[in-house]
Symmetry: C2
C-alpha cells in the first residue's frame, strides 16, 4: 500500500513525460504539466469503503494526490467542505435538487487553500525553499500561509485593487508582498522576471503541476458526498480555470477507477460579464481564448483576462456537453443577497455568480426539471465586506427599540 | 433509536425541572436552564463506533443534542473543525503536544455558528417565529444567518465598536440590526426591554438553554478527534463563558456514558487584561464575578464585563483544577503574528490569547512537560483585518522586484 500512486507527469498539450521526483514547471513546449497516477494498481488496493472513517479533510484521498511521504503533508485541516442543500433558493429558481459546495468553510476562507496545501506540500517534498507567484489575492494569501507553515519563503505580487483582507493574510504570514498598479497579468510578468533573476520556484497558476491536484479534491468530495453518484450539472466560477479543470480531472480518474458510473456532469464555466474570455471562446467554438481587454468585475477572483489553461477549460466544457455563461456584476450582488436572506449563507461574489448562472440556465431550458445541480461557492463573503451595503440605526444606552420605526 | 435523548431541562442554580417540549427562557429563580439527556438509555443504544462514517459536522452527535425531529435541523455544515498540531509553535513554547482546535473553519467564521445552529434549530422546533439578542458581533452574525435559513426573523443589537464585518453579515441576512453606543451590557438592556414589549424569543447568552448545547459539541469533537482520550489541558477565551461551560458539560456527559475514562482536562479561562472579571473572581476564590468597569480590549468577543453564567465558568475551573489568566492586548497581537508566521494560521485575537496563556502557564510550571494541550481558536483572523498592520511597496506594471531592496 503506497501513500501516493503518482506515476509520472505529462504535458497537457504535447504529451511529453516527466519524472515527478524532481522539480518541474512548464513543459519544454510551454504548456502545463499534469500528474498521472497508476490507477490500475490503486484500484486493486483501495476501495471507496476504505475512505469511511478517515480524517475529514482532503488528505483522505492521499492515494490520488502527489505527495509520496506522509510527513511532507502541510495541512491546516482543509477540505471536506459541506455540500449544503439549498431548498428555498432552489424553489425560487425551480431547481429542487440545488446544492452548494461551500468552499468558504476552509482555512483562509477560499478554495485556494486546497491548491496551496497540496502545492506547498509537494514543493516541500521536492526541496523547494522559496516560491513566488502572482495572485488576485486569495491564492497569494493561501500560499503565503501554507508556505509559512512549511517553513518556506514566499513572494507574492497582487493587484492594488485585490481584496484588502488578502493583504493582511500575506503580511501576517511574513511573506514578501508587492502590490502592482495593474492586473494579475501585470503581476504575472513581474513574477516571471523575478523567478528568472533569482531562481525561485514559480507557483503561478498551472506553471507547476500540483496546485490543480489540490483543486481536484473538490470533485472527489462531491462524488463521495453524493454517495459516489454523479450530479447532472456542476457550475464553477472561472478565472484561471484550475478549479474546473481539477474537477474534470477528478471525475475522469474516478470513472477510470470505476468508483463512479455513467455520464460525467455537464460542467459550466461561469464568468463575469466584464471579463469573459472563456465564454466568448466557447460561444465561437474556439479551442483557446483571447486576451480580454480592460477587464473589470466586482468578482475579483475571476478577473483573469487570459488563462494559461484556457484550452483545458474549453476542452472540459466540450467533452461534458457543458457551457459557458457570463453574468453582470449587478445580478451577482442581487443573488448574493438572496442567498443570504433565503439560505443564511454569506458567500463571495464569484460564488454568487454560479447561482445566477443556474437560474438563467434553468429559465432558458438548458437545465431540465429535476436535475441535480451543484453550484460551487469558492469563498466566504466575509472576505468581501465591501459587497454589502450597511445602513443601520445607532441607539444610545437606555434607548428603546421602537417597533413602529422604519425597521419593524 | 431516538434522534435525541433529551429528557428535561433543569435549573443550573435551584435544580427546578422544566419540559423541553415548550419554550423556556430563564428559570423562575432567574438562572440559566440546562438540558439533560437520558444517558442510560443513550448508552444502551449508541456506541462511539456508530459515529464512524457519519457526516462530518456537529449533527453527528444528534443523540446528545436537543433537536428531536431531524427535519428541524437548520444546518450550514457547521462543526468537525480541524484539530491541528502546532509543532513549531509548540517547540517555541516547550509544549510538544500543542494542538489548536480551529473554530475559524466553520460557517460565519467563528464558533458562534455552533450555538446558532443548535439554538435556531431548537427554536424552530418549538415554533419560535422571531428572536432578539445582544451581541459583540459574531454571535449576532451567526444567529442572523441561521435565523434567515430557518425563515425566522431576528433583531440584533451590537456595540458600535464591534467588528465591522459582523454588521455586513447581519445586514445581508435581512435581520433587524441596531448599533448601540456602548457595551454588550447596554445592548442586553435594550434587548431585554424589546423582548418584554414585543414578546420576542430572547436568544441572549444563557437566557435560552440550547445555544450551550451547540457549543458543547466542541468538547465532543475534541474527545472524538483524540480517539476518545482526554487532553491534559484545554484553554478557552472567555467572555460570556458558554464555550467553556459547554465543553465541561460535554466531557461530563461523555464520562457518564463511559465513552472517555479518567480525569477531566484542566480547563483554563483566558481573558483580556482589560476585561477580566472571571480571572479576578478565580484569584479571589469567589463563586461569582463582579461587573468589570470600563472594560476594553482588542479581543472584542471577550469584552463581557459581567457574564450571566459566571458561576458556571468558575465552577468548571474549580472542579477540573483549572485556572484563569488575563492577557494584555499587546501580547495577544504579538502571539497572533507568531502563530501565522510559524504555523500558517491567521487566527482572531481571542484565539491568540489562549496561546499566550499556554506559553505563560508552561513558563511558570503550571503545565508539566509532555502534557497534551488544546488551545481553542474561536474565530478566523479574516474577521479582524484591523489587527494586522500592512505596509507594502506598490510597483508599476513592468517594474522589477529588486532583491537588494528592503524586502529581500
Amino acid at each position: 500500500m503506497k501513500y501516493s500512486y503518482i506515476s509520472h507527469l505529462y504535458c497537457s498539450k504535447c504529451g511529453e513525460n516527466y519524472d515527478p521526483k524532481v522539480i518541474h514547471q512548464l513543459c519544454q513546449c510551454g504548456s502545463p504539466l499534469l500528474a498521472a497516477y497508476d490507477l490500475e494498481e490503486l484500484k486493486r488496493h483501495v476501495k471507496p469503503d476504505h475512505l469511511v472513517g478517515r480524517e475529514s479533510n482532503l488528505w483522505r484521498y492521499h492515494e490520488l494526490l502527489p505527495v509520496e511521504q506522509k510527513e511532507n503533508v502541510v495541512s491546516l485541516g482543509e477540505g471536506m467542505t459541506p455540500l449544503i442543500p439549498m431548498p428555498r433558493l432552489g424553489q425560487d429558481m425551480s431547481i429542487p435538487y440545488l446544492y452548494m459546495k461551500d468552499e468558504g468553510i476552509i482555512p483562509t476562507g477560499t478554495f485556494k487553500a486546497r491548491g496551496a496545501a497540496v502545492g506547498v506540500s509537494k514543493a516541500k517534498e521536492l526541496g523547494v525553499k522559496e516560491l513566488a507567484m502572482p495572485t488576485n489575492g486569495n491564492a497569494g494569501a493561501a500560499w503565503s500561509l501554507y508556505a509559512a507553515r512549511a517553513g518556506m519563503k514566499a513572494s507574492v505580487v497582487m493587484p492594488l485593487d485585490a481584496p484588502k483582507i488578502t493583504r493582511n493574510e500575506c503580511a501576517i504570514s511574513g511573506s514578501n508582498l508587492y502590490l502592482v498598479n495593474g492586473l494579475i497579468s501585470d503581476a504575472g510578468k513581474i513574477v516571471a522576471q523575478a523567478v528568472k533573476d533569482y531562481e525561485l520556484f514559480d507557483a503561478s497558476t498551472l506553471k507547476e503541476p500540483y496546485r490543480i491536484e489540490g483543486k481536484k479534491t473538490m470533485g472527489l468530495e462531491i462524488a463521495e458526498q453524493l454517495g459516489w453518484k454523479m450530479p447532472d450539472v456542476i457550475l464553477y466560477p472561472t478565472g484561471g480555470g484550475v478549479g474546473i479543470i481539477g474537477i474534470y480531472k477528478a471525475l475522469r480518474e474516478l470513472q477510470q477507477l470505476g468508483w463512479v458510473q455513467g455520464k460525467l456532469p455537464r460542467l459550466v464555466a461561469v464568468q463575469a460579464a466584464g471579463c469573459a474570455p472563456i465564454v466568448k471562446a466557447w460561444e465561437e467554438k474556439q479551442a483557446v481564448s483571447e486576451f480580454w481587454p480592460d477587464s473589470s468585475t466586482i468578482a475579483f477572483g475571476i478577473n483573469v483576462p487570459k488563462a494559461l489553461g484556457d484550452f483545458l477549460v474549453l476542452d472540459a466544457l466540450y467533452q461534458t456537453e457543458g457551457c459557458a455563461i457570463a453574468i453582470e456584476d449587478q445580478a451577482i450582488l442581487e443573488e448574493q443577497k438572496k442567498i443570504a436572506s433565503l439560505e443564511g449563507a454569506f458567500i463571495c461574489p464569484e460564488g454568487a455568480s454560479t447561482f445566477v448562472a443556474a437560474r438563467r440556465l434553468r429559465e432558458n431550458g438548458w437545465m431540465k426539471d429535476g436535475e441535480t445541480v451543484i453550484a460551487l461557492n469558492t469563498g466566504s463573503g466575509i472576505k468581501y465586506p465591501e459587497t454589502v451595503h450597511v445602513e443601520v440605526p445607532v441607539l444610545q444606552p437606555g434607548e428603546l427599540i421602537r417597533r413602529n420605526s422604519k425597521i419593524y
